[in-house]
């Protein structure tokens, strides 16, 4: 989120917008990453039980990620234009669960919605909080395309590091220490 950890409200929902999947982009993605006949060839795909070409679930999820990043940047701009200091979101540690429910076909429009289900302070990452997010992807017929339980992280505005942590953060700024720590 571009909100500080402290400002994130549980059960708040963010509309991320929608995306129409075109045949061309479906084939392009799948030729690169999910090269199976029902993902790459509209004619051969008729032999599959899907009876036609479908997008890779991974593709629909990657577009969901893009929608989320775009929404965060839009919020950041909005906050900056109001003279407020936006928060900082970090890289996701993972996804607890992802379920693919309905396949996406060419010309389907998928809408994405993000709900913050809970949050807690990250014990192993001083200065950050963990966010538990549910991403729902829904097509134009109101069918669920996929549902994902994603873990996100956000910086804590009110974080006061202990003396030991302050030393750690300072030491990490020395390039040599940073390189040693990475090993």
């Amino acid at each position: 989120m571009t909100r500080w950890y402290e400002d994130i409200e549980i059960n708040s929902t963010l509309e991320l917008g929608s995306h129409q999947f075109e045949l061309k982009e479906i084939i392009e993605f799948n030729k690169q990453y999910d090269n199976q006949y029902f993902h790459t060839d509209p004619e051969l795909a008729k032999h599959s039980h899907f009876k036609g070409i479908i997008a890779s679930g991974w593709h629909t999820a990657c577009v969901g990620q893009r929608k989320m990043v775009d929404a965060l940047f839009a919020e950041e701009e909005r906050l900056l234009s109001q003279g407020k200091q936006p928060g900082v979101s970090g890289p996701s540690p993972g996804i607890n669960k992802m379920t693919f429910k309905t396949p996406v076909r060419p010309k389907d429009t998928v809408s994405y919605q993000l709900t913050i289900t809970s949050k807690r302070i990250a014990n192993s990452l001083p200065g950050w909080g963990l966010l538990f997010l549910q991403l729902d992807a829904i097509n134009q017929r109101d069918e669920i395309v996929y549902q994902a339980d994603i873990v996100g992280i956000s910086k804590r505005r009110d974080f006061k590091p202990t003396l030991k942590q302050r030393f750690g953060i300072w030491a990490m700024k020395i390039p040599l220490v940073k390189r040693l720590m990475k090993r």
Binding site: D34, Q36, H47, S48, C62, R66, P91, G94, F100, L125
Partner: protein
């Protein structure tokens, strides 16, 4: 019996066994690959810009986790013996991005079949469970996940064994 002319010679449910290990081969991630993917799907500054990446938690320009996942999928499909007669993905659990994949890192690793199950609700498909163990060139795990996929059964009329249900 199976009637799909495209998948008839692919690996079906009956051809697979629990404990089977598929080697993913190797893929080196160039800076261009990382930036191209991130520009399209995950345009956070730490995936696009070296300076921003150095200042971030990740400590340098690194691939989107979605990119690592997509490449793992690609490597599995390319290296699956006689191709898998897949009937589509069900989903995954416990996807963990353990370490960032940095510019010029080479990823590889294995996928292990941990479960094969048939269901009485659809005799044409079984469910295969795959454990991904993706590592960098130093043998450090960068990503793990448990993926479930449907796979065609060659002979759906065969009785379901108890351990398969």
């Amino acid at each position: 019996m199976t009637t799909n002319p495209i998948t008839k010679d692919y690996s079906h449910f009956e051809d697979l066994h629990v404990g089977q290990v598929i080697d993913l081969g190797k893929t080196k991630l160039s800076k261009k690959m990382i930036i191209d993917f991130a520009s399209e799907f995950d345009p956070f500054p730490f995936h696009l810009d070296e300076e921003a990446a150095n200042a971030s938690l990740l400590g340098g320009l690194c691939a989107s986790g979605w990119h690592t996942g997509a490449l793992s999928l690609k490597m599995l499909i390319e290296n699956f013996p006689s191709k898998l007669a897949s009937a589509g993905g069900v989903g995954f659990t416990n996807l963990k991005w353990k370490k960032p994949v940095m510019v010029n890192d080479t990823i590889g690793g294995t996928v292990t079949i941990s479960e094969l199950r048939r269901t009485s609700s659809n005799l044409h498909w079984g469910i295969i469970t795959l454990e991904f163990d993706v590592c960098n060139q130093n043998g450090e795990q960068v990503m793990a996940m448990t993926l479930k996929n449907l796979v065609d059964v060659r002979n759906p009329s065969a009785p379901l064994k108890e351990q398969q249900i």
